[in-house]
Symmetry: C2
DNA sequence: CGTCAGGTTGACGCGTCTCAAAGTGGGTGG
DNA sequence: CCACCCACTTTGAGACGCGTCAACCTGACG
């Protein structure tokens, strides 16, 4: 297991002006509490491909994503892989609260995270209802996303899967202020395949077909998306 | 939309000796709090097939399942259906916290629920960290189940899906003290199909094959399961 | 210029879906 | 009590979407 920490240390910059603050659990805290929580946190960085934690590990930390993208995946014994989600800035890792990690987390490109020891974070949160409610809010959002993804995996065709994925990814990015003309896709085709329950060949073919049909334009590391046409092909919401 | 309430009223029996208490959110409350919460609740019953709430409805209530089984599902515009889960005694409905229900809930057989108005429950929970932590615990468990189900939907074959489902269902039932020689399956074949991302024909064929292979014995409303052989066919955990 | 990871494209096969028909059991009315 | 109906399930035959296997392309990097 490759684990590479590029740099780490205590908070290099104040949490007050953290770009992810409004999307992360921190949104529930006032400035005093934020400073207190910062005392408990370490800023850690991982290089591309590094494993932040693995499914078999005991969960000794919570993480809040500060910058970058991660793939969260589960493996079957014969090494089939299902990517259960991609984590973006503001996402909180460790919501399950179980003693062992439910999935593995790997950096896609470089990532920066705030790390909290499980015990000290639990102590800090224990009697802060505002923070606890914020965690419930994030968990509920995550659960809703998971259920929407079950519909995709169970009931959508390959083309609908790709179209739905692109729309959902776009919406998530714009939700954290990363919207734009070009839709960045930092993950590889294989990651998309393992996220959508397809093979890499089917993903590649479907991207090509969508480009031929004028739904997307493919660039290195991203696409330009015709949202209306993609929605028409996605099989619909819900 | 058929909504049939067989009977309703305030708490007909004390919450103290509720069979679901230890599995429900109520486990976080002492007897005084329990009595207080009971004041806010209505016991409601639904007959088989009744809709408890629909995806389009505004979520005005939370529910805690007291007795029975429900199917929780999402529909695509062309009426393809994905059952995102089955709710059992102790399960809490409304975890997403969003203003609209994320899925529809229908009774499979008769069900009994505790209903809380969203506002009064929120007020009650607001400054009870113990209860909030309990909700986080239930949400985390639900999230872990959802992620496990994504692996099933995205990466398992039909036979592995059925075998995994039977094992998981068995484990869930024994977790709430409903284990036994015969494994009850209150849901129809079509429900299983829509839960596992299959068609009813494939489910039926696979059940027949598992019976021919001596993995299960099929009875009306349930099966007897050879757990070891089912696990061998399930493709493995995680 | 060679190597290598990632991506694309094609031919073919298989697992699951689709369509169709028949079997089963519970409930109801004659 | 039997005849019929209806919802649900089972089984079969054929079609098709996606997976598998294999070859080739592309760009980054040394």
């Amino acid at each position: 297991m490759k684990i590479s920490v590029l740099g780490e240390g205590t908070h290099r910059q104040s949490c007050q002006d953290c770009a992810a603050r409004d999307f992360a659990i921190c949104a529930a805290l006032d400035n005093t509490e934020l400073r207190e929580l910062a005392q408990l946190s370490r800023h850690v960085r991982f290089e591309s491909g590094a494993t932040v934690f693995a499914q078999t590990n005991m969960a000794t930390s919570f993480f809040s994503v500060h910058e970058g993208t991660l793939r969260l995946y589960k493996l079957l014994p014969d090494s089939r892989r299902q990517i259960v989600g991609f984590a973006l800035p503001g996402d909180f890792l460790g919501l399950s609260g179980l003693p062992q990690h439910e999935f593995s987390a790997e950096a896609i490109g470089r990532v920066a995270l705030c790390q909290f020891s499980k015990e000290s974070f639990a102590t800090f949160a224990e009697n802060r209802p505002g923070l606890l409610r914020r965690i419930i809010e994030l968990a509920g959002r995550e659960l809703a996303r998971a259920q929407e993804h079950m519909v995709l995996l169970g009931r959508r065709s390959a083309e609908e899967k790709i179209a739905s994925f692109l729309i959902g990814w776009r919406d998530r990015l714009s939700g954290i202020g990363r919207g734009g003309e070009i839709l960045p896709l930092p993950m590889k085709r294989l990651d998309i395949a393992d996220h959508l329950g397809l093979t890499i060949e089917t993903v590649s073919r479907t991207f090509s077909k969508l480009e031929r049909d004028g739904v997307i334009q493919i660039f290195a590391g991203g696409v330009v998306l015709d949202v209306a046409r993609a929605e028409a092909l996605s099989g619909g919401a819900s």
